[in-house]
């Protein structure tokens, strides 16, 4: 089982219910395949950096999941078929998460060795802040 992030862009003219429907569908695929959905984040409407299928805006949704490759494959297939979804991307994050944990441990150990005088690590930015 690996960690993935699936981000997709829904047609901005789609109704809220339609987005929810897509979300439940994706969730269904993941859970039925034995994976877990760790986080669902609706990041809201955003201007696209370039035109996609004549759209200048899009509704971004982010899924953080723990699953295996087959589930991801199935999700991508389904997203490709859905008309309302104009773009999607899947990113594998488990290596990154592991690396960050290692870094954090190392920093903490070093800080402990040096005493309390060490500078605290910078607070991590949330996605919503970063998107602005």
């Amino acid at each position: 089982m690996r960690h993935y992030e699936i981000m997709f862009i829904v047609n901005p003219n789609a109704a809220e219910e339609e987005i929810d429907k897509i979300n439940t569908q994706v969730e269904g695929i993941v859970t039925s395949g034995g994976g877990t959905v760790d986080k669902v984040e609706k990041m809201g409407k955003r201007r696209l950096a370039y035109e996609v299928d004549r759209h200048r805006e899009g509704y971004y949704v982010l899924f953080v999941i723990t699953a295996n490759g087959d589930i991801v494959k199935e999700c991508e297939r389904r997203l490709r078929v859905m008309d309302a979804v104009i773009k999607y991307i899947t990113v594998r994050t488990d290596d990154e998460v592991r690396r960050l944990d290692k870094m954090k441990n190392y920093r903490q150990k070093r800080a402990a060795r040096r005493g309390s005088g060490e500078r605290a690590p910078a607070p991590t930015q949330s996605v919503e802040e970063a998107m602005q």
Binding site: M7, A49, A130, Q132
Partner: protein, 84 residues
């Protein structure tokens, strides 16, 4: 015999260039996330090209991560490939 090179001619000031530092090393940003548009856009000038290391001063380790992040962000339309 002393070579002339060792002695700087009087009146000619030495030019100091500010040392460039890697933003990610200094601010201790471990993760360069493709969703962090605010951070990434600092490294894509108007033409939407990725800023070279010799200009931004980012270290090779972080430049690599930055490249990956920018390319991912371009794929999901968070950053442009080129400005029209």
């Amino acid at each position: 015999m002393k070579s002339a090179k060792e002695k700087r001619p009087a009146g000619q000031k030495q030019y100091y260039r500010r040392k460039k530092v890697c933003k990610f090393c200094v601010e201790r940003i471990d993760a360069i996330n493709y969703k962090d548009v605010k951070l990434l856009s600092q490294f894509v000038p108007e033409r939407a090209k990725i800023m070279p290391r010799r200009i931004s001063g980012v270290c090779s380790h972080h430049q690599r991560q930055l490249n990956d992040a920018i390319k991912k962000a371009r794929n999901i339309a968070l950053l442009p490939f080129a400005t029209e």
